[in-house]
Symmetry: C2
C-alpha cells in the first residue's frame, strides 16, 4: 500500500479528469391558480426559441450553494431566497458543447414579493403545465424538481412561500391542487389546515370576486418554526 504526501496528493488530483460544473436554478411561483417556473430563452442558436433554466458555471473556488445564490441574483436580481439542492445531472451528452455536469437547485417564491429586476433573454414566469421541450435536458430537470416539490409540500407547509401575504383558503387549495395535480375535498382541506393551527385570521375579506367573498388569512411563520420538529420527527 502506497502512502501519499500532500504534495503527491496534489499531483495525483491534477492527473484526474476534470469537468465543467454548472448550477441550474428551478424557481417555482404561483399566479392565477397556476404553477409557474422562472425561465429564460436559451442563448444557444441550436436551442433557438427554447426555454432554459437559469444557470451558470461554478467558479473556481466557489461553494456550490453560493454559486446557486449568485446565479439567481445575477440573472434576476433576487436575494432573500432559499435554495435547496435537488439532484445532479451528468449524462455525458447532455450539453452540446461537451461534457458538463449540472447541479439542480430548487426554490419556491411569492411572485409579488420578488420583482424581476433584470430583463434579459425574455426572463419570465412560464406555466409549468404548458412546458414542452426545453434546451438541454432542462425539461427533465424541471420535472424532477416538480416531483421533489410534490413530496416536500406534503411534508412541510411550504406552499405559503408561493402565496401572497394574505390569501383565501380557496387560493391555498388551488395551489395544492396545482402542484399535486389532484382535486381535493374543500371541507376536509380546510379542516386539515384549521387543525394545524398555523393560520392567522386577518379579519379581512376577498375583494372583487363575483360571489360570496372568503376570509383572508396569513401564515404564522413564527409558530411554524417552533412546530417544525414535529414534521421532522420520527413517527414510526
Amino acid at each position: 500500500m502506497k502512502k501519499n504526501s500532500v504534495k503527491a496528493v496534489h499531483s495525483l488530483v491534477d492527473t484526474y479528469p476534470k469537468v465543467p460544473l454548472t448550477v441550474d436554478c428551478v424557481i417555482f411561483g404561483f399566479e392565477e391558480s397556476k404553477l409557474k417556473v422562472l425561465l429564460i430563452k436559451s442563448d444557444l442558436s441550436i436551442y433557438q426559441g427554447k426555454l432554459s433554466l437559469l444557470g451558470d458555471f461554478v467558479k473556481n473556488n466557489e461553494d456550490l450553494d453560493d454559486a446557486a445564490y449568485r446565479i439567481l441574483k445575477e440573472r434576476t436580481g433576487m436575494t432573500n431566497v432559499f435554495l435547496d439542492q435537488v439532484k445532479v445531472f451528468g449524462k455525458p451528452d447532455r450539453h452540446p458543447g461537451g461534457r458538463v455536469i449540472t447541479i439542480a437547485y430548487c426554490s419556491l417564491l411569492n411572485i409579488q414579493h420578488h420583482a424581476l429586476n433584470i430583463h434579459e433573454n425574455e426572463l419570465d414566469w412560464y406555466d409549468y403545465e404548458s412546458l414542452e421541450d426545453m434546451a438541454f435536458d432542462h425539461k427533465q430537470i424541471v420535472d424532477e424538481c416538480h416531483s421533489w416539490l410534490q413530496k416536500r409540500i406534503q411534508e412541510h407547509p411550504l406552499g405559503f412561500n408561493l402565496l401572497p401575504d394574505k390569501f383565501s383558503l380557496r387560493e391555498l387549495q388551488n395551489l395544492y391542487e396545482a402542484i399535486l395535480g389532484v382535486s381535493l375535498d374543500r371541507r376536509n382541506f380546510r379542516k386539515k389546515f384549521a387543525s394545524m393551527d398555523l393560520l392567522i385570521d386577518t379579519n379581512e375579506m376577498e375583494q372583487d370576486v363575483s360571489h360570496r367573498p372568503g376570509k383572508l388569512y396569513q401564515f404564522n411563520f413564527t409558530k411554524y418554526e417552533k412546530k417544525k420538529r414535529k414534521w421532522i420527527g420520527i413517527d414510526f
Copy 2:
C-alpha cells in the same frame, strides 16, 4: 443577444473552470443488531489510519450512475446492488489535494449475500455508531446518508434489503431501532408489519436461541412491487 453555433459553444465551454469530480459510495449493512458501513482505510498519509468511503474519480465520458457502480465493483467485487444518488458535496477545501466535487451514492445490502471479494486497505464493515472522525468530509457524508436512510426507511420497506432471506420479527425490529435510534413497542411494531401483509410465514423457527424461538419470515418482494404505487401515491 448573441447566438452561438455548436462550434462556438464548444469553445465557450472550454473557457470555463473545470473541477475533478468523484463519486463516493455509502453502503449500509446490518449484522449483530448493528448498522454497519462499508469502508476502507485511507490511502493518504495525512489521513493515516482514518476511515474513508469507497470513492474514485468519474471518467471522462462516464455516466455518473455508471461510475458509482463501477467503483463499487472495483473496490468490493459487488454487483447486483442498487445505488441512489443522495447529495453533492463541494466545499472548495474539502479535499487536501485541491478542489474536488463528490457525489454521494447510497445503498443498503444484505451482508451475507454480498461477500467482499477484494481485500485492500482493510476494506470491511464498520459500526456506524462507532464512527469518529474520518478522512476528508466523509463523516459528514455518511451522516447525511444516514439521515436519508432514516427518512427512506419510513416511506418504503427498504429494511428487508439489509436482512438475511429469513428473519424473525425481532431481527426486523432491531434493524428499525438501530437505524432510527429509537425503541419501538414490540406489539405495535408487529401489528404494523402484519397489516402491510408483505411477510411470508416460512413455517420455520429460529435456531440456537436461548429462549422461546420466533417464527422466520420472508419478505414478499413481488407483492411489494405491485403495492409500490400506494407508497408513492398522493395521500393528502
